[in-house]
C-alpha cells in the first residue's frame, strides 16, 4: 500500500446501551438518523469531505449491519485501489484472541494494520456523533503547533461542564491537565473524543500502556500518560453543531432539530454532503388525502395519512387515516390505517396493524429500564410486529413479533411496561 499522510481510525464497536432496544441487534453507529442515514455516515462523510481516503473502522458489538452498510465503501467513494475503508474486528492472534477492551486497546490490536498504511498522522474518531467537521483544518493546526496530540474541544455551558471530559489549557491552547467529569470544573472545554496523533508517538504510547492497562483507553490512560510525560498536547476548538445521541431523548431531539424551518444542522449544503447507501432514491409519494407538515421524509416513502413534526426513513408506508406526530419512523416500516402515533421511535422493518394507538396515557418511567425510557417516548425494536386494535402507553419498550396475547385483556400495554419477546424479560 502507498504511504498515506493521514489515516482515520473510527471506533464503531460500542453498544450504546442507553438507546435501549434500538441497539439490540446493531451497534450504535448503525442506528439510523435523520431519515435515511446511519449515525456513522456523518463521521465517514466528514472523513471523505476532509480528503481522508483511508479509514479503518473498528467494530465489535453486533457488527453485521454495520459491515453490510459499509461494504467496500462505495457510497463514500472509499472503494479504492490503495487505501479505502477496512473493517477491523477483534481477531485471534497466535493461539489466543482478545476482545477490544478499551478505545486505545482497540488500536493497539491493529498496530499491524496501521503500520501497513504507514501514516504520518492518525485521527481517532468515534462513530456515534452528529456533526460536520473538516479534519484537514485540525491537521493543519496539529502541524502548526508541532503537537504530539491534538484534541478537538467544544465550549459547553460551565454549569454542564462537570458532565464531560474537560481539557484545561494555557492561553496558547496547550493542554496541561485533563479531568474526567470534574465536580468543580476549571474550564468549559469539553473533549469531543476526536484526536489527532503523530503516529510514531502514539504507537509508542499504545505499546507502553498496553503493558499497564488491559482496558487501555484514550481519555482515561493515553492522554493522562502523555500529559505526565510533558508531551505537547493541544486543544483544537470546534464551533458548530455537535450532538452526542447516546440517549433516547437526545436521539429524538437531535432528529427533531432537523424538521425546524431553518435547522441548525444543515444537510442541504452541496459542499459538505452527507453520503450514505443511497441506492436508487425513488421519490416520495403522498396520496390524495395525505398531509405532511414540518417533517422529513426519505426516499421511497408512501404516505396516505397524516405526518406532522416527524422524521420518516426510506420506504416507510403510512396508511389512510393514520396520524403520526412527533415521532421517528425508520426505514422499511409499515403502518396500517387509522393509527395514532405520538412521540414514538419505531425502528426498521416494523409492521404495525390498523387502529393502533401509541404513546397515550400518563408519563411513568419504564419499570424494567427506568434509566433508558423516562422521557415519555415509546420505542419499538427492529423487525417487531404490533397487531391491530392495540393501545400502547408512554415509555414502553416493544420488541418482537407481538400478538394480542402479549397485551392485557383490554388490548392495552400501559405506560412504563415492556414486551420484549427476544429476551427473558416480558411484561
Amino acid at each position: 500500500m502507498r504511504k498515506k499522510e493521514i489515516l482515520a481510525m473510527l471506533l464503531a464497536g460500542g453498544q450504546g446501551s442507553r438507546l435501549g432496544v434500538l441497539t439490540a441487534t446493531k451497534a450504535k453507529p448503525a442506528v439510523t438518523f435523520g431519515g435515511k442515514y446511519r449515525i456513522i455516515d456523518f463521521t465517514l462523510s466528514n472523513c471523505v469531505n476532509s480528503g481522508i481516503d483511508t479509514v479503518g473502522v473498528l467494530t465489535q458489538y453486533q457488527p453485521l449491519l454495520l459491515n453490510q452498510h459499509i461494504g467496500i465503501g462505495i457510497p463514500w467513494d472509499l472503494d479504492r485501489r490503495s487505501g479505502g475503508v477496512t473493517v477491523l474486528s477483534p481477531h485471534v492472534k497466535g493461539d489466543s484472541g482478545e476482545w477490544y477492551m478499551g478505545t486505545a486497546n482497540a488500536l493497539f490490536h491493529n498496530i499491524d494494520y496501521i503500520d501497513n498504511v504507514d501514516p504520518e498522522y492518525i485521527v481517532v474518531l468515534s462513530g456515534d456523533h452528529i456533526y460536520k467537521m473538516d479534519y484537514s483544518n485540525m491537521l493543519s493546526f496539529h502541524k502548526d503547533k508541532k503537537a504530539d496530540a491534538t484534541i478537538a474541544v467544544l465550549e459547553v455551558p460551565m454549569l454542564e461542564a462537570s458532565r464531560f471530559g474537560i481539557m484545561n489549557c494555557h492561553d496558547d491552547s496547550r493542554i496541561y491537565e485533563f479531568e474526567e467529569k470534574p465536580p468543580e470544573p476549571k474550564s468549559n472545554l469539553a473533549s469531543m473524543g476526536i484526536y489527532i496523533f503523530t503516529w510514531e508517538i502514539l504507537r509508542e504510547m499504545l505499546i507502553k500502556d498496553s503493558g499497564v492497562h488491559r482496558d487501555s483507553d484514550f481519555g482515561k490512560h493515553i492522554i493522562p500518560l502523555m500529559i505526565a510525560q510533558s508531551r505537547s498536547l493541544y486543544a483544537y476548538r470546534f464551533c458548530g453543531y455537535w450532538r452526542d445521541v447516546g440517549t433516547i431523548e437526545s436521539y429524538w431531539s437531535a432528529n427533531m432539530d432537523l424538521v425546524q424551518a431553518v435547522p441548525e444542522f444543515n444537510m442541504y449544503e452541496n459542499f459538505w454532503q452527507i453520503y450514505t447507501d443511497s441506492f436508487n432514491q425513488p421519490p416520495i409519494y403522498t396520496g390524495p388525502g395525505a398531509e405532511t407538515r414540518t417533517s422529513l421524509l426519505a426516499d421511497g416513502c408512501e404516505v396516505y395519512g397524516t405526518v406532522i413534526n416527524s422524521v420518516l426513513g426510506t420506504d416507510v408506508y403510512v396508511g389512510e387515516g393514520t396520524i403520526i406526530r412527533d415521532s421517528i419512523v425508520m426505514s422499511n416500516t409499515f403502518i396500517g390505517q387509522n393509527c395514532e402515533i405520538n412521540r414514538c421511535v419505531i425502528d426498521e422493518h416494523v409492521s404495525i396493524g390498523d387502529h393502533v394507538k401509541m404513546g397515550t396515557g400518563e408519563n411513568v418511567p419504564n419499570e424494567s429500564k427506568p434509566r433508558v425510557y423516562d422521557c415519555g417516548i415509546t420505542v419499538v425494536g427492529t423487525n417487531s410486529k404490533i397487531p391491530s386494535h392495540v393501545n400502547i402507553g408512554k415509555n414502553c419498550e416493544i420488541y418482537g413479533n407481538t400478538v394480542h396475547d402479549n397485551y392485557n385483556d383490554d388490548n392495552c400495554l400501559p405506560s412504563g411496561k415492556s414486551i420484549n419477546l427476544e429476551s427473558e424479560a416480558t411484561i
Binding site: 435523520g34 431519515g35 435515511k36 462505495i74 457510497p75 424538521v259 424551518a261 444537510m267 442541504y268 454532503q273 452527507i274 453520503y275 450514505t276 443511497s278 441506492f279 436508487n280 432514491q281 425513488p282 421519490p283 416520495i284 409519494y285 403522498t286 396520496g287 390524495p288 388525502g289 395525505a290 398531509e291 405532511t292 407538515r293 414540518t294 417533517s295 422529513l296 421524509l297 426519505a298 426516499d299 421511497g300 408512501e302 405526518v307 422524521v311 420518516l312 420506504d315
Partner: protein
C-alpha cells in the same frame, strides 16, 4: 448471458422541442429519479448482460455525465463493462454517425472483439422493464435470424412515430413498416432486436458500403423477405418518449401505484446514478397531495397531482398543479403553475403565474428565470 448489448442513444427528436435542446432523448430525466437511459441499461444488466455499448452522438455531454461511472448498473468488471462511443476522427473516417447502422458500423471493433454469440440492440428512449433472457430464449428456439420485440398498439394510437409490424400466427413478421402514414399492421416495434453478432457484422458491412446507414430502413425493412424475422410480444408497461405529450404522460404515470412500484420497488430494480440528497423536507404550510417529490426537495406550498424531481424548492403560498418540475427547480412564493414542465434549474420568481393546456403543457427551458 450469451449476448452483448447496444443502446442506440444518439437520437434527437424535434417533437420534444426545448426538452432536447441540450440533451439527447435518452438522457431526459423521467419519473422523478431516473433518466430514460436507465431503463434499457438496467434491463440489460438485470438480464445478465455484462458488456454494453451506448452509442451517443447528439448532445453527448449529459449522457457522459450520467454514465461517468458504470458501477451503478453493475458494469464495473474486468471483462466487458460499459462502453460509451461518440463519433471521432480517424485517418480513414471523419464522419458523424450517418444513421443507426452507421453508428454501430463505425464501432464494429466492439462487436469483432466480443465473444458472445448474440447482440441485443435497444433504443434509449423508452420507459419499460423487460427480461431479455426470455427474449433470447425465444430467439434461439424459433431459429429466427432477427427477433423484434413488439407491443400491441392501443386502438386509435398514432403510429407515425413507430416501426409497425404485421405478425403472423406463429410469430413470424410478415411485414415491417417504418413510421408509416397509413399503417397496415397493428404491432408497435419497441426498437429492441436480437441478432447473431456475426450476421449483424456482415449486414452492416454490406449496407454501409452501399451508402445506406439506417438499421431499420436499410437493414431490417430491406432484408425483411430474405431474413427470417420473428416477433416477440411484450405485455408489460412500455412507453416511448416521442413527444412533449408522451413525456408528460409518462411522468404522470408514475403517480399510479402499480407503475411506480414496478419501477422503484419490485425486483429487479431500475438503477440510476445515485445522488446523495437528504430526505425531502415538508415545512409547516406544506400541502402536498397525489404527488411525487424527489429527495432533497424543500416544500412550503401547495402541490397537487404533480411530479417533482430532486432538490426542488416550492415557496410559501405557491400552488402547483398537474406539472412536472425537474431537478433543481426553484418556485418562489405565491406562484401559480398548472400544466407546466419546468426543465432543470429553472427559477420561477415570486408571484409568477403560468397556466398551460393539458394537451400542450408550457415548457420552460433549462436554467431560465421566469
Amino acid at each position: 448471458m450469451n449476448a452483448v448489448g447496444i443502446i442506440l442513444a444518439g437520437g434527437n427528436n424535434g417533437r420534444l422541442g426545448e426538452l432536447t435542446k441540450t440533451r439527447a432523448v435518452s438522457a431526459i430525466p423521467v419519473g422523478s429519479c431516473f433518466r430514460c437511459l436507465d431503463f434499457p441499461l438496467s434491463n440489460l444488466s438485470n438480464s445478465g448482460i455484462g458488456k454494453v455499448a451506448v452509442l451517443a452522438q447528439y448532445n453527448a455531454r449529459s449522457l457522459q455525465d450520467h454514465l461517468s461511472s458504470s458501477k451503478w448498473w453493475n458494469f464495473g468488471s474486468k471483462y466487458g463493462g460499459l462502453f460509451v462511443f461518440s463519433p471521432y476522427l480517424s485517418d480513414d473516417n471523419s464522419f458523424w454517425f450517418r444513421g443507426t447502422a452507421d453508428s454501430i458500423y463505425q464501432n464494429i471493433t466492439y462487436l469483432r472483439r466480443s465473444r458472445e454469440e448474440y447482440v441485443i440492440i435497444t433504443s434509449g428512449d423508452a420507459v419499460y422493464k423487460a427480461d431479455f433472457k426470455e427474449l433470447l430464449r425465444n430467439h434461439e428456439q424459433s431459429g429466427a435470424d432477427v427477433t423484434i420485440m413488439y407491443k400491441d398498439a392501443e386502438p386509435g394510437q398514432d403510429l407515425r412515430e413507430f416501426g409497425v409490424l404485421t405478425v403472423g400466427e406463429n410469430g413470424d413478421v410478415l411485414d415491417l413498416e417504418e413510421k408509416p402514414l397509413e399503417p397496415q399492421g397493428s404491432k408497435i416495434s419497441m426498437g429492441i432486436y436480437v441478432i447473431k453478432r456475426t450476421l449483424l457484422m456482415d449486414l452492416l458491412s454490406e449496407t454501409v458500403s452501399e451508402g445506406n446507414y439506417d438499421l431499420v430502413k436499410d437493414i431490417f425493412v430491406r432484408y425483411r423477405k430474405m431474413l427470417k424475422i420473428n416477433g416477440f410480444r411484450f405485455d408489460g408497461y412500455w412507453k416511448a418518449i416521442k413527444s412533449v405529450k408522451s413525456y408528460f404522460d409518462v411522468n404522470m404515470d408514475f403517480l399510479r401505484a402499480d407503475i411506480r412500484r414496478l419501477f422503484t420497488q419490485e425486483q429487479p430494480y431500475i438503477e440510476t446514478k445515485p445522488k446523495d440528497e437528504p430526505p425531502a423536507k415538508y415545512n409547516s404550510q406544506a400541502d402536498v397531495a397525489d404527488c411525487l417529490v424527489g429527495a432533497g426537495s424543500i416544500i412550503s406550498g401547495n402541490i397537487f397531482h404533480s411530479v417533482l424531481f430532486r432538490r426542488v424548492y416550492v415557496g410559501d403560498g405557491s400552488a402547483v398543479k398537474d406539472s412536472v418540475l425537474m431537478e433543481g427547480t426553484r418556485v418562489g412564493n405565491n406562484c401559480v403553475l398548472e400544466n407546466v414542465i419546468l426543465d432543470k434549474f429553472v427559477t420561477i420568481s415570486d408571484g409568477a403565474k403560468l397556466v398551460g393546456d393539458p394537451q400542450n403543457p408550457i415548457i420552460i427551458s433549462k436554467g431560465t428565470t421566469v
